[in-house]
C-alpha cells in the first residue's frame, strides 16, 4: 500500500505527533521502572522517578545487588554507611528459571516435531482420529489439568521437581506445537521423502536428517513462543513447583516480593527488571522470529 499521508506534510505532522504521544504513554511505565530501579531507596520513597531527570547525581546499582544477593547481604550506601539488609536471592531464582525453561522449550519441541512428522508422513490406523483429538485439545485451558495432575504428582513424588514442571509445560505446549509443526511439515514436497524412503532410509533417519533441518524456521518461531510462555508463566510454576526457595522461579519470587515488600519500590522495580531482561534481549535480537512465534502461538489453549 502506498503511504498516503506523505502527500501532505500537515497530515504527516499530525500522524507523527499522535503516534509520538501514544508511544510515550506506552513507554512511560517502563521508563519509570528502569529509572526507579537505579535510584537509592530514600529517593524512590520520597519523590517521583521523573525528578531523577532534574537531579540525576545519585544513581546506584545497590538495588540490584540487594535483590540478587542472598539471605543476608551487606553493602555501603551512597553516604558511606554500611547497611545490612536481607536480599531476595533473585540470582538463584534466575538460575531456576533457566533450569525450568530450557528443557521446557526443547522437550516439547522434540516430541511435537516427531509427532508432527508421524501425523504428516507416516501411515497408521487411527491417524485422523488422533490428530483431530490433538487439535481439539487446543481448546482445553490448562486450569482443568491442575488438580488431577497435582494428585498424580503427589503419588509419584514429583511435586516441586524440575521433571514435573518440564512435563507439565510439555503437555500444555504439545497441542499447539504439533498443530503448527504439522501445518509446516506437511507442506514439504513429497518427492524429498519419497526418494529418501526409496533409498532405504528408515523414518528416524528421514526425520533427523531431512525433516528437522527443513523445519528449522517453524521450530525457531515456536521455540520463541514457548520460551516466552514458560519464562513468563506464573500459574503452572505456582501449582507444580511449590513455593520452596531452592526451586522457585523468577515470576514466583517477584510475585512473593510484591506481597512481602509491597512498598519497597526500589527493590520491586529492580526485581521486575531482572525478570524482564532475558525476554527483552530475545525480543530485540530475534524480533522477526519473535513476531512470527507470537502470531503463530496466538491460538494456544
Amino acid at each position: 500500500m502506498k503511504r498516503i499521508g506523505e502527500r501532505r506534510s500537515s497530515t504527516t505532522l499530525v500522524v507523527t505527533s499522535l503516534l509520538a504521544v501514544l508511544v510515550l504513554i506506552w513507554s512511560v511505565p517502563i521508563i519509570g521502572l528502569l529509572i526507579s530501579s537505579i535510584r537509592p531507596k530514600s529517593a524512590v520513597q520520597s519523590t517521583g522517578w521523573w525528578k531523577a531527570f532534574v537531579n540525576s547525581s545519585d544513581l546506584t546499582l545497590d538495588n540490584y545487588r540487594q535483590v540478587l544477593g542472598g539471605s543476608s547481604y551487606t553493602f555501603v550506601d551512597s553516604a558511606g554507611n554500611i547497611v545490612r539488609a536481607s536480599g531476595d536471592n533473585l540470582s538463584q531464582a534466575f538460575l531456576n528459571s533457566l533450569t525450568v525453561t530450557i528443557p521446557s522449550v526443547i522437550i516439547p519441541l522434540l516430541i511435537a516435531s516427531a509427532a508432527a512428522f508421524g501425523f504428516a508422513w507416516l501411515d497408521f490406523p487411527g491417524r485422523k482420529t488422533f490428530f483431530t483429538i490433538v487439535v481439539a485439545l487446543l481448546v482445553v485451558p490448562l486450569q482443568i489439568a491442575l488438580i488431577p495432575i497435582l494428585r498424580d504428582y503427589q503419588t509419584l513424588r514429583l511435586t516441586g521437581s524440575y521433571l514435573g514442571i518440564w512435563l507439565a509445560h510439555t503437555g500444555f505446549g504439545l497441542p499447539l506445537g504439533i498443530y503448527l509443526l504439522h501445518n509446516y511439515i506437511s507442506t514439504i514436497p513429497r518427492d524429498i521423502f519419497e526418494s529418501a524412503f526409496l533409498d532405504g532410509a528408515r523414518p528416524m533417519v528421514v526425520f533427523s536428517r531431512l525433516v528437522l533441518p527443513l523445519a528449522v524456521p517453524a521450530i525457531a518461531s515456536l521455540a520463541i513462543f514457548q520460551f516466552l510462555w514458560v519464562w513468563n508463566d506464573l500459574l503452572v510454576a505456582l501449582v507444580f513447583l511449590g513455593g520452596t526457595d531452592n526451586v522457585a522461579v523468577l515470576t514466583q519470587k517477584l510475585a512473593s516480593m510484591v506481597g512481602s515488600r509491597g512498598q519497597d519500590w526500589h527493590l520491586l522495580t529492580s526485581g521486575a527488571f531482572i525478570t524482564m531482561i532475558i525476554p527483552l534481549i530475545v525480543f530485540f535480537s530475534l524480533q522477526r522470529y519473535f513476531v512470527q512465534g507470537l502470531m503463530a502461538g496466538s491460538v494456544k489453549g
Binding site: 501514544l22 487439535v135 501445518n183
Partner: protein, 362 residues
C-alpha cells in the same frame, strides 16, 4: 557342529540380549538421573546442569532407543509399530496431561470438596448463583469487552497511523515490547504507576502525581469499585495492543493500493477511505485478533492474582477457581469452575481455529 551352534543359537541369543540390554541401560541411566535430581543435595549449579542434560538428552535417548528396539523386531511388526515411535510419546503425554484430566475434572465436579460424596449439580449451582461467582462473571465480561475493545482499538489506530509514518518500525517496536513482559512483571510496573500516598505527601506513582498536579485528590486506585477492574484491564490493553497492532499491520499491507486510489479519485477523504475500504477489507483479521484476546481475557489470572488477589470486587473466573482449589481445597467447586471456563472458551476457540486454518501459520 560347534560352528553351527554358534551361528544358529548363540548369535541370535546374543543379538536378543543386546537388544534387551540397550533399552535396559538407557532405562537405568534415566532412572538414576531421576533419583539424583529428586533427592540430591548437590550445589544448585550442578543440579541445574545435570537437569538440563538429563531432561533434553533423556528425550532424545528415548526416541533413539524406541527406534532401535522397533527395528530389531520382525519386519511386519516393525512396520506397524514404527509410526508410534514418533506419535506415541506425544499421545501418551497429551492423554495424561490434557485428555484424562478433562474427563476427571468433569467427574470430580459432581462430587463434594474431598471428592468423596456425590453432590449432583450442587457445584454448578454454586458456580452460577454465588454472589462472588456472579461478580467474577461480570468482571470477566468487563475484561472481554474493555480489554479486547481497548487492545484491538488501539492496535488498529496505531497500525493505521504507523502505516502513514516514516518511523513505522521504531514506533511499532516500542508498542510491541510489552508483549515480552510477564503478567507479573507488568503487574509490578503498573502497581508503581498506580502507587498511592496520602494527600500532602509527594506522590511517587505517576497517575496520582498527575491527579494532584491538576488539583485533584490522590486515590488508592485498586480499592475504587467498580473502576478498579478498569485499572486492571488497562494493564492487559497495554500488554496486548502490540499483538493486535502487529497482526493488523500485516493485514493493512495486504489492502491493494488500487482500491484505495480508486476511492481517492472518487473524492473520498482519508477517514472515509479507512471506514469504507480498509476496515471492511481487514474484517476477518480484526475478528481473529479479537477472538484471541477474548480467550486471553477469559482465562486472565496472573494480573488479578498479583495486583489485588481478587479483593475489592476484582475476582475473575480463573482466580476463583485457583482459590477454591488451593485456598479452600474444595476440589468439587474448583473442578466445576474449570469446566465452566472450558465451556466458555470452546466456541471462541473453535471459531478462532477455523479462522486460523485460513491464514498462513508462518
Amino acid at each position: 557342529m560347534e560352528q553351527k551352534l554358534w551361528q544358529h543359537v548363540l548369535v541370535p541369543v546374543g543379538k536378543i540380549l543386546i537388544s534387551i540390554l540397550i533399552p535396559l541401560i538407557a532405562f537405568v541411566l534415566l532412572w538414576a538421573g531421576f533419583i539424583f535430581l529428586r533427592d540430591s543435595n548437590a550445589p544448585q549449579t550442578v543440579i541445574a546442569v545435570v537437569a538440563i542434560i538429563w531432561g533434553v538428552g533423556g528425550v532424545a535417548l528415548l526416541f533413539y532407543v524406541a527406534d532401535y528396539v522397533v527395528n530389531k523386531l520382525p519386519v511386519v511388526l516393525a512396520k506397524k509399530l514404527q509410526p508410534f515411535v514418533f506419535v506415541g510419546p506425544a499421545l501418551a503425554i497429551l492423554a495424561w496431561y490434557l485428555f484424562i484430566p478433562t474427563v476427571r475434572s468433569l467427574y470430580l465436579s459432581f462430587f463434594g470438596p474431598r471428592s468423596e460424596n456425590f453432590v449432583g449439580l450442587k457445584n454448578y449451582i454454586y458456580a452460577f448463583t454465588d454472589p462472588t461467582m456472579l461478580q467474577a462473571f461480570i468482571n470477566n465480561l468487563m475484561w472481554i469487552i474493555f480489554g479486547t475493545g481497548g487492545a484491538v482499538g488501539f492496535g488498529l489506530l496505531i497500525a493505521l497511523l504507523a502505516d502513514r509514518s516514516k518511523l513505522e518500525k521504531v514506533f511499532k517496536s516500542i508498542i510491541f515490547m510489552p508483549m515480552a513482559i510477564s503478567f507479573v512483571g507488568a503487574g509490578v510496573i503498573w502497581r508503581f504507576v498506580y502507587a498511592y500516598k496520602p494527600p500532602g505527601e509527594d506522590q511517587v506513582g505517576i497517575l496520582n502525581a498527575l491527579v494532584t498536579l491538576f488539583g485533584g485528590n490522590p486515590q488508592a486506585w485498586f480499592t475504587l469499585r467498580p473502576w478498579n477492574n478498569i485499572f486492571l484491564i488497562v494493564i492487559l490493553i497495554w500488554l496486548q495492543t502490540g499483538y493486535a497492532m502487529v497482526i493488523i499491520s500485516a493485514a493493512l499491507k495486504g489492502v491493494p493500493s488500487s482500491i484505495i486510489e480508486a476511492g481517492r479519485i472518487d473524492g473520498a477523504g482519508e477517514i472515509r477511505i479507512i471506514r469504507s475500504i480498509i476496515i471492511p477489507y481487514i474484517t476477518s483479521t480484526l475478528v481473529t485478533v479479537s477472538t484471541t484476546i477474548i480467550i486471553i481475557s477469559l482465562k486472565i489470572f496472573d494480573i488479578v492474582f498479583t495486583m489485588t488477589n481478587g479483593n475489592y470486587g476484582t475476582e475473575v473466573i480463573a482466580s476463583m477457581q485457583y482459590k477454591q482449589m488451593f485456598r479452600f481445597y474444595d476440589y468439587g467447586r474448583g473442578s466445576a469452575i474449570a469446566i465452566v471456563l472450558v465451556i466458555a472458551v470452546i466456541p471462541v476457540m473453535w471459531y478462532n481455529l477455523k479462522q486460523f486454518g485460513k491464514r498462513e501459520g508462518f
